[in-house]
């Protein structure tokens, strides 16, 4: 289980996360939604230990981290048991797409798994291209498959459908459900409510760094708080 309790984070005296908590069971999909600047990505970076929170605690299976955390040499990080797919992909530009996929798994390469994922995400045609020669959608799939090849237990996804068309987004959502069914816990950060409501077991609505409302996917259909009602209404208008 991944459990974040009362995560707080300040940047330049501005509180960007205020006592945010989350519990993620294996096989569960939790969506973190909210407007731009709500703190969604900051929260994801905090629970993945990319940025260290100012206070609160994090438990990833047996490993416990109490913040503020002093990074020690040989600190036991949870990677790649827990991994992250970033909104900006961060595909290594000097390596081909194939090399990007293989670099993290070169020591324990599972060819069958590799072939399966490459086929599933229709990547055969651009495996030998450099990232600069790939489209945004191709890069996004590369980032996702690079993470999936690691067979993580917890997968944290930051706006992974933002560069995809509707068909590709639906394809990926379908796969995410399948992946969750194999026992992988997924945190799905997005501002696309229609996507979050389709796949989530739980939804957390963040605004100005704090949880305004949380519950099942139903809260996106029948929101209780005025703030979420306003946000859902605005999303409906946009769609």
């Amino acid at each position: 289980m991944l459990q974040a309790i009362n995560i707080q984070k300040k940047i330049k005296n501005r509180e960007i996360l205020k006592q945010v908590s989350l519990t993620l069971q294996p096989g569960e999909i939790v969506s973190v939604v909210g407007p731009s600047g709500a703190g969604k990505t900051s929260f994801l970076r905090a629970i993945s230990l990319i940025d260290i929170a100012d206070s609160g605690s994090l438990m990833i299976d047996e490993k416990k981290y109490h913040f503020p955390l002093k990074i020690k040499i040989n600190q036991e990080f949870p990677y790649p048991n827990l991994t992250v797919v970033f909104q900006q992909f961060f595909i290594w530009p000097h390596l081909t797409i194939r090399q990007n996929l293989l670099l993290p798994v070169r020591k324990n390469f599972d060819e069958r798994h590799f072939t399966q994922l490459v086929r599933l995400f229709q990547m055969d045609s651009f495996l030998n291209r450099y990232p600069s020669e790939a489209s945004m959608g191709e890069k996004q799939r590369t980032a996702l498959v690079r993470a999936l090849l690691l067979k993580p237990k917890y997968l944290l996804l930051d706006e992974v459908t933002s560069a995809l068309d509707v068909e590709q987004a639906q394809l990926i959502l379908g796969h995410l459900k399948e992946i969750a069914n194999t026992g992988v816990g997924i945190v799905f950060v997005s501002h696309a409510l229609h996507l979050a409501s389709q796949i989530s077991d739980k939804v957390i609505f963040l605004d100005q760094g704090k949880i305004v409302e949380e519950g099942t996917g139903d809260i996106l259909i029948n929101p209780k708080t005025a703030r979420l009602k306003k946000f859902v209404a605005a999303a409906k208008l946009t769609n």
């Binding site: 990319i50 990080f77 990677y79 970033f86 961060f90 595909i91 290594w92 530009p93 993290p104 690691l150």
Partner: protein, 222 residues
């Protein structure tokens, strides 16, 4: 004219070769010290804030004064002030080395400062060790961004060695001037000199240009 050029080559082969040898010896010192010491200083200045400021200040000073003035200042006023006489070759090698070290350092420091840390983070979250991140991600990316600049700089330093002739270093340009004073055939003599420089600089410049084009394309996502 071609006949005269060949004749000059043959007749003054020994002098030209010895001048070329001095130039190459000079540039070898400048290149080796610049690349090794400069890389180390650049790395250190990236890690230590104060060293970074000192390097920037040094770079501003050196890039604001022409190479020739630095060379003359080190050779004449400085030695007079201190009351010593240093071999012009050593003065030229020291001056050009210091300039190269500062320029190499600033290239290395800037490349390290500008390295997109997100690529390293992407490596970390996929379970790569810090050593793997350095050798598979950081080092290849940084090398790709600095090699063209370093090559262009080294060619410029090679061309700057001709200034050493003005403080009496017996390098190729000074030898050419001496031959010219004997036979007065400036067109042919300086054509010979240009050909010698072309033979060394052209491949280096082309390599730098090729690397720049190749890697700029691959790194465009940066």
């Amino acid at each position: 004219m071609l006949h005269t050029i060949i004749q000059i080559f043959v007749q003054y082969q020994e002098g030209l070769m010895s001048g070329l040898a001095v130039s190459l010896k000079l540039i070898a010192i400048v290149w080796i010290s610049g690349l090794f010491i400069g890389t180390f200083i650049g790395w250190y200045a990236h890690r230590k804030l104060l060293a970074g400021y000192c390097l920037k200040l040094g770079w501003l000073l050196v890039s604001s004064v022409p190479v020739l003035v630095i060379l003359f200042w080190l050779h004449f006023p400085l030695q007079k002030i201190i009351g010593i006489v240093v071999d012009p070759f050593i003065t030229a090698a020291s001056a050009l080395s210091v300039i190269n070290i500062i320029f190499v350092s600033i290239i290395i420091k800037n490349a390290l400062d500008d390295f997109p840390e997100q690529y390293a983070i992407a490596g970390r979250v996929t379970g790569l060790s810090e050593k793997e991140i350095f050798f598979s991600i950081k080092f290849p990316l940084i090398i790709r961004s600095v090699i063209p600049q370093l090559l262009f700089l080294q060619v410029a330093m090679l061309q700057a060695t001709i200034f050493a002739s003005l403080i009496s270093v017996e390098e190729i340009f000074r030898v050419a001037q001496r031959i010219n004073s004997l036979i007065y055939k400036p067109v042919e003599i300086y054509t010979v000199l240009a050909m010698l420089f072309l033979a060394v600089c052209l491949p280096l410049n082309y390599l730098a240009y090729w690397l720049k084009n190749k890697y700029t394309r691959n790194l465009s996502e940066k």
